[in-house]
Symmetry: C3
Subunit: 139 residues, 3 copies
C-alpha cells in the first residue's frame, strides 16, 4: 500500500516551528496502515525537517540562537551572496539538519517518542510556503 | 514482509557508543530478508543514532570532545535550563546527528561498509536506557 | 519491486560535488517505478551524502569553507591522528551531514525540488572512489 501526496506548509517566520499536527492532518490515510513508514522530503534547500522536543517553546528558540551563532551571516565568509546574507547560512543549516525524515507507523499512527515532534526549520527571512512530499507505505 | 519491534539499549554514560551488535542481535528476523531495509528510530530528543568508524575507540572520544566544544553548556547561552545545563546542548547535538538510520539489508545481513558501525550518541549525563523502534521490510 | 545495486562514484578532490546525474544514470530501473523510494548509503565513514542547491558552484565552495572552519585540522584537538590530520575532521563532517539519503520516486523519476541536487561530500584529501549502495523499492 503506497500513498504519495504533497503537503504544503504555510509560510512561517524564520526559526523553528512544530508542524506535527499540520503534517498528520494532511495525511488521513495513515490510519489505514498497521505497520509502515512515512517519509517526508522538504523540496527546498534553505529549510529543514528535524525531530525534537515538542513541549517547550524555549527549546525551539534556543535552536534558532545556536544555529545563528554557528553559521553567521557575516558576508565576508561567503562567496554565494546574490540572494542575500541569510541565504548561504540557510543552505548550511538545512544540510546540517537534513531535508527529510523517515518515521515509523504503528496501528495507523506515527510511532514517535512521547516528547518528539516534527520541526520545520525555516532558515530564510522570508521563505514563504514550503512544499513537503509525503510518501507512506506499509501493510 | 514487515517486522517491527522495540529494542531497548541499556543505559550508558554520556558519550558515543558502538551498538551494532546489540541492535543486530535483537533482530534475528533480519536473516530472512534477501533485499530490504532496516529503519531505526531512537524515541528520545537528547540522544542520537549515527553511522561511523567501528574500530578505534579514540574516534568516539574525539566525537564527544568536538560536540562538547561546538555546543557548550554555558547556561547563559540557553533559555531552556529547567532540566539542567546538559539538557539543551543534548537537544542540539541530537538534531545535528539525527534520531534515525535507514540501513540496507542484503542476504539477511546489514550491508554496511567495512568500517561502519552504529553509534549511540548519549548526550545527557544520566540518560538511562534508550528505546529504539526498529522496522524492517523487504523480500 | 526491489532493486539493489552498488554505484561506484569516481574519485574526486576534497570538497562538495554534485553527483545527481552520475547516480541516476547508474539506475535505469528507476524508470519502472510509479511510486516508490530510493535509498542511498555511502559505505564510508569519511565521506557523506547531502541534498542541496544544484545551480551555483559557489554554494558548494562555501560548504567546504564552513565545514573546514567548524571542524579544524589542528592536531592538538584530536587523539585519533594515525591516518593524518584530515581524517578525524572527515569523520565528524561525515556524521554531521550523514551517510545516506532517502529520496521519493514519482512516475519513474526522483521527485526532488527544482533546486535540489545530490552532493557527495568528499572530506579526505585523497579519498579515492566511493561506493554507494543503492536500494529502490516501490510499485
Amino acid at each position: 500500500m503506497w500513498i504519495q501526496r504533497q503537503v504544503d506548509l504555510v509560510a512561517r517566520p524564520r526559526g523553528f516551528h512544530l508542524v506535527t499536527s499540520e503534517v498528520v492532518e494532511a495525511l488521513p490515510e495513515l490510519a489505514g496502515i498497521r505497520i509502515g513508514l512515512l517519509h517526508l522530503l522538504i523540496q527546498h534547500t534553505s529549510a529543514s525537517l528535524a525531530l525534537n522536543e515538542n513541549a517547550s517553546p524555549d527549546v525551539r528558540r534556543d535552536f534558532e540562537s545556536w544555529f545563528n551563532a554557528a553559521v553567521p551571516e557575516r558576508a565576508e565568509l561567503w562567496t554565494h551572496r546574490l540572494e542575500g546574507t541569510d541565504d548561504m547560512p540557510a543552505h548550511i543549516k538545512a544540510a546540517l539538519l537534513g531535508p527529510s525524515l523517515t518515521l515509523p507507523i504503528t496501528d495507523g499512527r506515527l510511532a514517535l517518542g512521547t516528547w518528539q515532534g516534527i520541526y520545520l526549520g525555516e532558515h530564510r527571512n522570508h521563505g514563504g510556503a514550503r512544499s513537503v512530499l509525503a510518501t507512506a507505505w506499509g501493510e
